[in-house]
Amino acid sequence: MHGLINRAIQAFFITTYGAERWVRVTEAADLAFSDFEAMLIYDTDDSARLLDAMAVELDRPLAEVLEDIGTFLVSNPQVESLRRLLRFGGVTYVEFLHSLDDLPDRARLAVSDLELPRLELREHTKGLFSLVCHPGLPGFGSVMVGLLRAMADDYGALVMLDRKSGGDGQDVIWISLVESTFAEGRSFDLGARAG
């Protein structure tokens, strides 16, 4: 799995639970190291064992931990650049949702060997969307739930999210937009450029 993803998991865990527990998790996952490099590729099995070890260490369902990772990716200042890149998707939350169809392509434009599963947004009635997360990255659907929730906060929108596991590793996230301008949201300045 791409180092960027592993590195994000590491940043999330250390920030939330501390370096000591992180080292314990990497040991439990039988990794020979405890620091991921963002620009290297790692064995997918390593990442799977790592996530399982995290769930055991925290004594929480893995899906919940993954949702927290999604939230962290948008709301933590350490990964501000990612939040900015996502905000380039649109001026409103609905525009942002529609930009998710392009997310894997956008990711590949930034880092050519970063492969994300295909995403497919459908609008059913006004304010009711479904996002199909195609298989390819186990747990990606749960991460997306956390990410969508945090991005809603970022745009100041009020949403309800519900993830249903479809067959063959495919997740469907139902998004109902209760209010698109519920709160102020965070500002997004095109020219600011995250450090």
């Binding site: 490099e37 890149l85 020219g191």
Partner: protein
């Protein structure tokens, strides 16, 4: 089509356009272009008084501008910030006016910041937002790569540092000494090279064991580091052989003082594990100065000759190299160094 209708269409498709009349005055302006100069209403102003045409430079009036319809225009604001713009002009059919559409070109990154532009300032098909996304994404990726490079560089330096370091004593090793000597002899500042050999080390090692031997080497290394300055180099080049390079020193008296001080301190009893280790040291010194240039190999050889003279003089001595010493070595070729190492005299006269 009415002019108002056309302007309405242009507002959506080209938010950075201007519509000019026959005299070159602006009749309509796109909202984004106007946003660049909020204090100066552009409608009614002369286009070429607001903008300086930098390509083609020959354009100074409306006729010239209309004639430039086949070329890519390059222009900039006459006042600050003098943002550079790209443009294209289309003569308005059925009149002597024209439409000029502008864009930021490569200056867009600064422009977005300077003018606090938002997505709404660009037409829906404009690729600027994607461009900004790409710049930011690439910068973030580049930064991640740079961080990796920095860490790798750090690891490389650490690895090299280790490869230049004698792990037992922490001193430089022979490899490091070779590098430093090559550099010094090429650059040629005055410096002195001391070849130091511990006396009776073999006896300590044999009678008291390797642990005691290692302890003695570490203590000896510490003493040599303490008796030299930060800029000097101390290297362990063999089992009990050391080379010291003293930068900028060519004064014989100073060097002799340093050498005697080294011998004196190395002769102090070193307690180890309830026992006492006693060693001494022999030193040969050669000075490299501007009028006496030598290769690194020559210097080491001369220091070795001087060291040999110290050993012959009965150990615990310091000798400066002089050409006469060379003959003594030639005379003594039959007498192996190992024999001399077995000698019993601890303290002989010091030659300086």
């Amino acid at each position: 089509m009415e002019r108002d209708e056309l302007t309405g269409i242009l507002q959506v498709l080209c938010p950075m356009h201007v519509m000019l009349d026959g005299s070159g005055h602006i009749r309509a302006v796109g909202s984004t272009l106007q946003k660049l100069r909020p204090e100066t209403p552009m409608v009614g102003a002369r286009f070429l008084e607001l903008f300086e045409m930098t390509r083609p430079r020959s354009v100074t009036d409306m006729a010239g501008l209309r004639a430039a319809s086949q070329t890519r225009l390059r222009l900039q604001f006459r006042d600050n910030p003098r943002t550079t713009l790209k443009g294209v002009v289309v003569p308005l059919p059925g009149s002597d006016g024209a439409i000029v559409n502008l864009s930021f070109g490569i200056s867009v990154l600064d422009a977005v910041r300077d003018y606090a532009l938002t997505s709404a300032d660009f037409s829906a098909t404009d690729l600027t937002i994607e461009l900004l996304y790409l710049v930011e994404a690439k910068s973030a990726a580049m930064e991640a790569s740079r961080q990796l490079n920095l860490r790798l560089q750090g690891a490389k330096i650490a690895a090299e540092e280790q490869a230049y370091t004698d792990t037992l004593t922490g001193l430089k090793n022979r490899r490091a000494m070779d590098h430093i000597l090559d550099r010094l002899t090429a650059a040629d500042p005055p410096f002195a090279l001391m070849h130091l050999d511990l006396d009776f080390f073999k006896a300590v090692n044999d009678s008291m064991g390797h642990a005691a031997g290692d302890h003695v080497l570490q203590q000896a290394a510490r003493i040599m580091v303490e008796e030299t300055r930060q800029q000097d180099m101390v290297a362990r080049v063999g089992g009990d052989e050391f080379v010291l390079v003293l930068m900028g020193l060519s004064d014989g008296r100073k060097l002799a003082r340093i050498a005697h001080r080294l011998i004196e301190r190395l002769e102090e009893p070193m307690p180890f594990d309830g026992q006492t280790c006693r060693i001494s040291a022999s030193i040969g010194t050669v000075i490299s100065s501007a009028h006496d240039r030598c290769s690194a190999g020559d210097l080491l050889h001369k220091a070795d000759v001087a060291l040999y003279a110290s050993k012959r003089a009965g150990r615990g001595c310091h000798t400066f190299y002089s050409p006469d010493l060379g003959d003594m070595v030639e005379d003594a070729t039959s007498e192996s160094r190992a024999d001399i190492d077995e000698g019993r005299t601890l303290y002989g006269g010091t030659a300086a």
